[in-house]
Amino acid sequence: MLTIGKLAREAGVTPDTVRYYEKEGLLAPARKTDAGYRLYDEDAARRLRFIRQAQQCGFSLAEIGELLMLKRSDAACCKDVRGVAVSKKLQLEHKIRALQAMSGALSELIAICNDGARPLDECPILAALENSMAGQMEGARNG
C-alpha cells in the first residue's frame, strides 16, 4: 500500500493533484487507515499513470473520465476508445491551425519591427496590436 505522498512522488505529481483527481472522481484510495490517512494500491498507481499519460496527449479530465469508464465497461470495445481518440485528434488539428495562424500573425508583426532602437511609444508591434484591438472593438460596436 502507498501513502498519498509516495503515490504522488512515483507519478511525478503533488499530493494536491492526487486529491484533485479524487475530487473529480478519477481516482480513489483502496482504504483509509484508522487515523484517516489514504492508502492506495497498485491499481490506483496504474490509474494515476494512465491519467498523466492521457493528459499529455491533450485529453481533458472529463475526457479521461470517459476513457476510464470505457475501460471498465463490459459493453464498450476498442472502437469506442478509437472514436474518442479520433475526436481528440480533430480538436488538436484545429488547435494547431489556430496556433499556426497566430504564429503567422506574429511573424508579420516581427517583420514590421525592423528597428529595435526605437522608443517604446513608436513600437510598431504595440501600435499594430492596439490598432487591431481598436478595429475589433469598432467591429463589435457596429456588429
Binding site: 472502437k79 478509437r82 472514436g83 479520433v86 475526436s87 485528434k89 480533430l90 480538436q91 488539428e93 484545429h94 491551425r97
Partner: protein, 84 residues
C-alpha cells in the same frame, strides 16, 4: 448536382448501419442529382479540419459542414430537397 460527403473513421460499427440507410435516402433522389462520397476522416484529416469538423461522424454538403452527427433519414432528405 448536390455533393454529399460523409466523414467517419473505418471500423465504426454503429456508423456503418446508419450510413447505409442515409445512402439509400440520397440515392433515391437520383444519382444524376446527388453524389455520395464516404470519407475516411483519418486519411483526409486536413480536409475535415478545413470544413470545421470537430467530431466524427459528420456530413458535409456541397463543401459545407451541415450535420455534426449522423442525422435522421428525414432530416437528410429535407436538407437535400432544399438544395435541389
Amino acid at each position: 448536382m448536390v455533393k454529399v460527403e460523409v466523414f467517419s473513421s473505418p471500423g465504426c460499427g454503429k456508423c456503418a448501419q446508419a450510413k447505409a440507410m442515409l445512402k439509400t435516402v440520397a440515392e433515391a433522389l437520383g444519382s444524376d442529382k446527388v453524389t455520395w462520397r464516404e470519407v475516411n476522416i483519418l486519411e483526409e484529416m486536413d480536409y475535415a479540419v478545413d470544413l470545421g469538423i470537430m467530431s466524427s461522424p459528420a456530413i458535409a454538403i456541397d463543401g459545407e459542414l451541415v450535420f455534426t452527427s449522423l442525422p435522421s433519414a428525414y432530416k437528410l432528405r429535407v436538407e437535400l430537397l432544399r438544395r435541389l
